[in-house]
């Protein structure tokens, strides 16, 4: 993985020192909240419902064991013993004291981490496929490009005060696990007919109160022109994006108001000018960054592990874990292991300090010292030899981390909602917990198959409800929580936004409503091979709507 050079280290250390001084001046009263707020937000410190919240950047979701141990240490020493992994592959601490934040940032700097650009109208943490560099289906590792974008965008003087925040995602595989079509810019690594590496370019996707699927404005952008093209897009946005209305300030509004032809023309015109300034990536620089992300030295093994097969034959729970949570690796005899942070009835994305320490230990012993955070709020051990799976599984199970539900109905994304968030209009986590308990960990969840439920506690859509196969949006109506349901959304390569079923449901009724949707799917699917999304796309909304609202359904 990428290691800081002397400039990176010095820069981060200086920022911590500046923030220490700013915090001291705030606590002494020298700075007012109005003066201080911008500084704290630029260092990831928010004020939430119960306390301050610190959001720490995890670049493209990649962690070393040392870094994860540090995150555990911070949870234990400065928080209440846990952290919350987010839909942007970051971690949030819910209870730090303001006076401790400079010390936390010092601790983070000691393991080459920080909280810069995790807030504000700048280019945020660049996200990527959590299986990057390991997945059998990838064209190329997206992380070097995400790292190049991170370096270029960090404190970019022209782009520190954009009209609104700006999010870039990169995938290296045709199967999109990084939700690139609901980002401001999405890059997909592709090869052209000559075998050259480049990118398909998507722009103007996003969720929030005005969800939009990105437009594809380039089929093939040569690798060397990545920064020039990004510069062109962000410059057009910086000049033309609206600053008069916060709710119309994201690039998606500009892109969709201008239309594909006009936005493409504007970006291409700017791109030609940028190329004149010679902002091309030297091949040597690309290779140097790629060398940080070289595939670990994994000895090729037989694709079938007798150790694993023997255990699977006698242990149904292990068999299910391997079937559901282990994905093929590009090196034979290895697997990519998803560690679910969605125990049945648990809080999606939460991990205790002890769990983080355990995962760090397992990564050190069995996964080339690497951990990933997924935007679906799980952790990943990317490089596990199949022969080691029984040992890894046993250790995970002992720490309540072996729930075999990756991609299933109980693998729910949920934002913090009204339990923590100052912006929320309703709770998200308790709804996720009740749905999880309703469907459980047994045969029923497996019988339902792949089904992604995503829950947001307000229209800002941090819980990605617009792209849930079943999306749930929590709102407040006359002082009471109410939940709208959408169907048919997905953030994969066939990206689509969900459609509202109709009137919302009370907190008491929403889990029944979800179960009604699931039962309807089971009754209309052709067979078990037709997953929820395919079934919905074939039959449409009608049978679901009928089941929910006719015959005295639960709708209010």
């Amino acid at each position: 993985m990428y290691r800081y050079d002397e400039f990176d280290a010095q820069f981060v250390a200086e920022r911590v020192a500046q923030f220490r001084d700013q915090t001291a001046r705030r606590l002494s009263g020298e700075l007012t909240e109005e003066q201080f707020k911008l500084h704290r937000l630029m260092n990831g410190v928010y004020l939430q419902l119960h306390a301050y919240m610190l959001r720490v950047a995890i670049p493209y979701g990649v962690l070393s064991s040392t870094q994860l141990r540090k995150l555990a240490h911070i949870a234990r020493r400065y928080d209440k013993g846990f952290g919350h992994f987010t839909t942007r592959q970051n971690i949030q601490y819910n209870w730090p004291a303001l006076k401790d934040c400079p010390d936390i940032l010092d601790e983070l700097a000691s393991v080459e981490m920080h909280a810069i650009q995790t807030s504000g109208n700048c280019i945020r943490n660049v996200t990527a496929d959590q299986f990057a560099g390991a997945a059998a289906d990838e064209v190329a590792d997206p992380r070097p490009y995400a790292e190049i974008l991170r370096q270029w965008s960090s404190l970019h003087p022209e782009y520190s005060f954009l009209p609104r925040k700006f999010k870039i995602a990169v995938t290296g595989a045709p199967r999109d696990r990084a939700a690139i079509q609901v980002h401001d810019i999405g890059y997909q690594v592709v090869r052209n007919g000559k075998g050259e590496t480049g990118f398909a370019v998507y722009v103007g996707g996003g969720q929030g109160r005005t969800p939009m699927v990105a437009l594809k404005i380039r089929d093939f952008l040569p690798e060397a022109e990545l920064l020039a093209y990004t510069d062109a897009i962000v410059r057009v946005y910086n000049l033309e994006g609206r600053r008069d209305n916060k709710y119309k300030a994201r690039i998606k509004i500009l892109v969709h108001e201008k239309g594909a032809a006009a936005i493409t023309a504007a970006v291409e015109a700017e791109f030609a000018k940028v190329l004149e300034r010679n902002l091309t990536l030297p091949e040597g620089d690309i290779l140097a960054i790629q060398s940080y992300f070289a595939l670990p030295d994994l000895a090729a093994k037989p694709p079938r592990s007798e150790t694993v097969e023997a255990r699977r034959a006698r242990d149904a729970a292990f068999d299910r874990f391997v079937a559901v949570n282990v994905t093929p690796h590009k090196v034979a005899g290895h697997g990519v292991v998803t560690i679910s942070l969605k125990p049945i009835g648990g809080i999606p994305g939460d991990a205790t300090a002890e769990q983080m320490d355990l995962v760090a230990d397992l990564a050190e012993r069995f996964s080339a010292d690497e951990i990933r955070v997924s935007h679906e709020q799980n952790l990943v051990l990317p490089h596990v030899a199949l022969d080691d799976l029984p040992t890894v599984y046993d250790a995970l199970q002992a720490a309540a981390l072996a729930t075999a539900n990756a991609g299933l109905v109980t693998d729910i994304i949920a934002c913090p909602g009204l339990d923590y968030c100052a912006l929320a209009t309703a709770r998200s986590i308790p709804v996720a917990q009740r749905i999880s308990e309703r469907f459980g960990d047994g045969a029923r969840a497996q019988e339902i198959g792949e089904l992604k439920i995503k829950i947001s506690g307000c229209i800002n859509a941090c819980g990605h409800h617009h792209v849930g196969h079943i999306g749930i949006l929590g709102l407040e109506r006359k002082g009471v929580e109410t939940y709208q349901i959408t169907l048919g959304g997905t953030a994969d390569e066939t990206c689509s936004l969900g459609t509202l079923t109709g009137p919302g449901f009370s907190s008491e009724d929403v889990v029944d409503a979800v179960e009604t949707v699931v039962n309807t799917y089971i009754s209309v699917r052709r067979d078990t091979s037709e997953d929820f999304l395919s079934t919905y796309r074939r039959v449409g909304m009608a049978p679901f709507k009928q089941a929910l609202y006719d015959a005295g359904g639960a709708g209010i």
């Binding site: 002494s28 119960h50 303001l98 002082g479 929580e481």
Partner: protein
């Protein structure tokens, strides 16, 4: 509508309420309840001095009702602020 004055403590963000002796208290049960809009407005103005003195921030009044002898916020958001996350009561305030 009866009201209570609330804010966040500057040093750690803890939710606090204005007490009867104008000190900030952590528990809603110990908060001063203002029974008229005038009293509430006057308390809010006075409490503003603590924002300028950098003791607390984001001071505002919330509506409360008497529920079986216990002061309870009308809005769910304020009930959660007063008590802590409903999903982790052990991290919230003692009842």
């Amino acid at each position: 509508m009866n009201q209570v004055i609330t804010a966040s403590r500057l040093s750690d963000g803890t939710v606090v309420f204005l007490g009867p002796d104008r000190a900030w208290v952590e528990r809603l049960a110990e908060a001063a309840v203002f029974v008229s809009p005038e009293a509430s407005a006057a308390a809010l103005t006075e409490a503003g001095g603590d924002e300028r003195a950098n003791v607390v921030l984001d001071i505002y009044a919330i509506d409360v009702a008497d529920k079986a002898g216990v002061v309870a916020p009308i809005k769910l958001r304020e009930a959660i602020r007063a008590q802590g996350p409903t999903v982790k009561p052990e991290h919230g305030k003692p009842r």
